[in-house]
Symmetry: C2
Subunit: 320 residues, 2 copies
Amino acid sequence: MKTRLLTVSDISKIIDMADVLKAVETAFREYGLGQAEMPPKIYLDLRQYNGDFRAMPAFVENSAGLKWVSVYPDNPDKGLPTVMAMLILNDPKTGFPLAIMDATRITSFRTGAAGGVAAKYLARPDSNTLGLVGAGAQAKTQLLALLENFELSSIHVWSLRDDEIEGFKNNFKDLPIEKASLEEAAGCDIVCTTTPARGFIVKKEWIKPGAHINAIGADAPGKQELDPQILNEAKVVVDDIAQARHSGEINVAIKEGLFPVNDIYATLGEIVAGKKAGRVDDEITVFDSTGLAIQDIATARMLFEKAKQNNIGHDFDVVG
Amino acid sequence: MKTRLLTVSDISKIIDMADVLKAVETAFREYGLGQAEMPPKIYLDLRQYNGDFRAMPAFVENSAGLKWVSVYPDNPDKGLPTVMAMLILNDPKTGFPLAIMDATRITSFRTGAAGGVAAKYLARPDSNTLGLVGAGAQAKTQLLALLENFELSSIHVWSLRDDEIEGFKNNFKDLPIEKASLEEAAGCDIVCTTTPARGFIVKKEWIKPGAHINAIGADAPGKQELDPQILNEAKVVVDDIAQARHSGEINVAIKEGLFPVNDIYATLGEIVAGKKAGRVDDEITVFDSTGLAIQDIATARMLFEKAKQNNIGHDFDVVG
């Protein structure tokens, strides 16, 4: 029995948003049905280096495993990505390590896919304008995922950095992408916020009736992108209640007493599993994404199977 | 920048008890000085498969990382080891994954080394008889570590299984190993208990004055090898107070009210760091070992450096 190593170039050859969307949708369904296991993340905080690591273990469907991800905001100055991740995929029946894989790309794809699944269940099916608040790596995978389920006639991109918008346009030359004001981007049918803002930048009055918002950027205490009034009026769906309270979009509004935890309508898993209904009419829906280990493990399993089918990767022995 | 894969055969080529002892001693010293970081282990418990996983992150000296270890007691029936582990070693300055390595052998060597370090600081330097209660894989690495610091004139091995004792003798043909009764093994200068007992098997009256005991076997709630009277009389040193209370040798005696937590004399780190003294005269000393992530990470760092020096392993890209 061998363990397979999948490097970043192996993963790049086989990763595809349509497949990741399916894997992540199944992961949320299993979690909603109470059939997944996901202990809370643990943090190894290295303040002396302005960085931290997070251990994210999970069991979902026929797979167990762990993602080990580091977040070092000063890394771009050193020519390294802020976020780097490795993942170990195990057989849950024996613990055998099936694969070790680079998970940096998995992380960005599965985050996009969560937004895609949320929009599939929560956005109006006829949504055709997309607003992107922020134009970095996260915005790209949000767009990739939404393209799988929506016919987008115009994509309005806002960023503080013009070079990011240019880069974005160059990445998607065939798509109707336009530079937009914050207000224009926020006024679309589907809005994805992917900034590191600490204080809301999207105002309530910009959001149109029936809009769906993927709130992606807030991933730590103190981070916030949306006017709390949006949360008050909207149907708020989270990926995980404990994580969203701690570090998701709702964390600041909760601390400030502007959003009661009981106003969380559902988890995305409950909606995907059919335990709770999705949108009604022209209400506003918000998906607060913090990122779950089940998304990583389900994506990794799909990639492992695809790698085996396509003879991608490098096998090695762990028992000897 | 590349990440290095070290397989089980790579590790076997370079692992050496003298090196592991040094690395583990340094890890305990750093921990004792409060210069290491080690969040509590997290468990992913898969009762439906009678197995569990443990995520063990740590920062020590110039390294960060995580061991991901599975424990499946039914595995030997399937031709697989009960314990399997992988380890990710990172640069603490950037999070960059320096190496991925098989950690099954690291786990057994670093456990042996903890016993070796404990005996170096706690056993009488002129100890020359060793008693091994249990003759499995753990007993072997205890012996390997003790051979580095003690001149052993006789090694008394007890096991319920004669084939284990024969296997043990065949592994160490040049050493003065004898099959022994439980009482004989327990009556040596240094005693290592490595059984899965749940209820004490080593009696107080068998232990001689001035003896040192490495209590290795107890690693889960309910496990116990030593008569609680031994703990009451001895100077008890643990690797980590929280882990020892939860799942070390002292856990049962604490629950039964037979050993007050306040009677723990010190952590091994405090002793190695010189914050507390070791043995005095003919008292009995007990080291309660549960296994710490710092031991794994320090050992992994040493192996990574050695692998680089000897061109061992396989490099791959994680940033691309």
